[in-house]
């Protein structure tokens, strides 16, 4: 059932991508999402899923949602390529791998990224809710004059293609962090969670406060305690 839905979703996405492109009257916009079976397509789906669109809980502005997407991509990059001294990739990412899809799907359906997992045949898939929301967003983006919906979808897709193609030149807001209050930290963010205020500071993760832009797109970002000297 899951496989069939995935295929149907993928072919639907091709169609919807084409529709969005056709409806985008302004020549500057042509949103076409890569197939979710590809690395840039799957990554774009994740960025779209984790950032709010107009009308959603956590929505503040286009710039805020773009920043959220960027920083989530930096979290994934950190888990993949930037393991801080004293930590292992397994501790931070629940997996030892140089494959971005492994980083995203680590831990299964309720793993590192809620709702993103590999199916029984090892293919990267998502829960139905993620696909339903994406279908809705693509449909809205293709309604009338292209606006924030189309621009955010296009941004997520382009960022994903650029990252996978090693052309991504964005700036990591959290890279320079050295201390949060008295706590020395590693810099970069290594986790994000829905900003719901249940997180009591503790463990190895350190909440990045508002003054350091730690809340973006309705998500709270966390860096790590610096270990050793």
């Amino acid at each position: 059932m899951e496989v069939r839905r995935f295929r149907a979703f993928r072919s639907g996405l091709f169609r919807l991508g084409a529709i969005v492109a056709a409806l985008a009257a302004a020549p500057a916009f042509s949103v076409e999402l890569d197939p979710p079976g590809t690395v840039p397509g799957y990554l774009a789906m994740l960025l779209i899923n984790e950032a709010p669109f107009p009308g959603e809980r956590g929505w503040e502005s286009e710039a805020d949602s773009r920043a959220a997407m960027r920083q989530i991509l930096f979290v994934l990059d950190g888990r993949l390529n930037q393991i801080p001294s004293g930590y292992t990739q397994l501790e931070i990412a629940m997996v030892t791998s140089d494959d971005l899809i492994d980083i995203i799907t680590a831990g299964g359906v309720h793993g590192q990224v809620e709702g993103f997992y590999r199916d029984e045949r090892g293919r990267p898939v998502t829960v139905a809710r993620v696909r339903g929301r994406l279908d809705y967003l693509v449909q809205v983006a293709g309604t009338g004059k292209p606006g924030a919906f189309a621009r955010l979808l296009a941004y997520a897709q382009q960022a994903s293609r650029d990252y996978v193609g090693q052309r991504w030149g964005a700036v990591d807001l959290f890279l320079p962090l050295e201390a949060i209050g008295p706590q020395r930290v590693t810099g970069r963010a290594y986790s994000w969670m829905t900003d719901l205020g249940q997180f009591h500071p503790g463990g190895r993760y350190v909440r990045i406060p508002d003054r350091n832009d730690g809340s973006l797109g309705g998500n709270r970002f966390f860096t790590l305690k610096r270990l050793g000297p």
Binding site: G55, E56, R57, H200
Partner: protein
């Protein structure tokens, strides 16, 4: 004539004294009825024994308020933002009065009042005291209000209830239960004037559904925009004592939070049963 007026004036001063006014604060944020709603919401979702221990001997409770701005506001967005800090609870609240237009949906998003959009327990105040307007509310009066209203139901009105049943049917279609031939049992949470969230406990699947979003789960077009509203939490899988246990995974909630959802839904909320024939499966 003078004595009642004097009494009212003194009462107003004692119940909400302004200690500092660094800049103009939206009067709606200073409205006492609104503040009591915020405190009640906080009581339902965040406060615990620590707050009452901390304020037990205090005559007054401080509420710090300041306006805040978002990064690179979109053109035409008239929304207003504010931050509340409750020192006695170490709780920071972010509030939003949404007011913007979504061209693609041809829809204005306008919340009826300020709503809590996020909250955080912090070890220290998010800013220096002088950056805020500080209101003082009588501690004893707050405690009495919270105690008296702790089990007062605020159930959805019949129209909202109908829309929620329709929304739940859509959720069931998207994530079918193990046995769709059984009636599906839901409990709908209390509603709050200062929150856009509506929680629903889906007993058959032991999951919690949150309808949230600025379009308003309480608005007539809920179904049209359902994908923007819906989150589902599997209470079997996604609950931990501490999020530290989750080790960076981003879909978990604490037992404390799950317990509050259960209380809001099971104890204070309403039971709704949808027979198989009405599920639309």
């Amino acid at each position: 004539v003078i004595r009642p007026l004097l009494f009212l004036l003194l009462g107003a001063l004692s119940s909400a004294q302004l200690c500092a006014a660094p800049e103009a604060i939206d009067p709606r944020l200073r409205d006492e009825k609104f503040l009591y709603e915020v405190i009640r919401y906080v009581y339902q979702w965040y406060l615990d024994d620590r707050y009452f221990v901390a304020t037990g001997e205090q005559d007054e409770v401080e509420i710090w308020i300041r306006p805040v701005e978002v990064r690179e506001r979109d053109a035409g967005d008239e929304s207003r933002y504010a931050e509340l800090w409750l020192p006695a609870a170490d709780l920071q609240l972010r509030l939003k009065l949404a007011d913007y237009w979504i061209p693609e949906l041809e829809r204005r998003v306008r919340s009826p009042g300020y709503r809590v959009t996020r909250a955080a327990l912090l070890a220290n105040p998010p800013g220096p005291r002088e950056d805020y307007m500080v209101l003082m509310l009588p501690s004893r009066q707050i405690r009495a209000h919270l105690f008296d209203s702790r089990n007062r139901p605020q159930v959805p009105d019949p129209a909202l209830r109908e829309r929620l049943v329709a929304a739940m049917r859509e959720v069931v279609k998207l994530t079918p239960p193990p046995d769709p031939t059984q009636p599906q049992v839901f409990f709908v949470s209390n509603v709050s004037a200062v929150s856009g969230d509506l929680w629903i406990l889906w007993v058959n699947t032991r999951s919690a559904i949150r309808f949230a979003g600025e379009l308003g789960a309480d608005q007539p077009d809920l179904l049209r925009h359902l994908p923007l509203h819906t989150q589902i939490f599997d209470l079997n899988e996604q609950v931990v004592a501490s999020l530290i246990e989750a080790g960076g995974r981003n879909g978990y909630m604490t037992k404390d939070w799950a317990g509050r959802i259960l209380f809001q839904c099971l104890v204070l909320g309403e039971r709704v049963e949808v027979p198989p024939a009405r599920l639309g499966l």
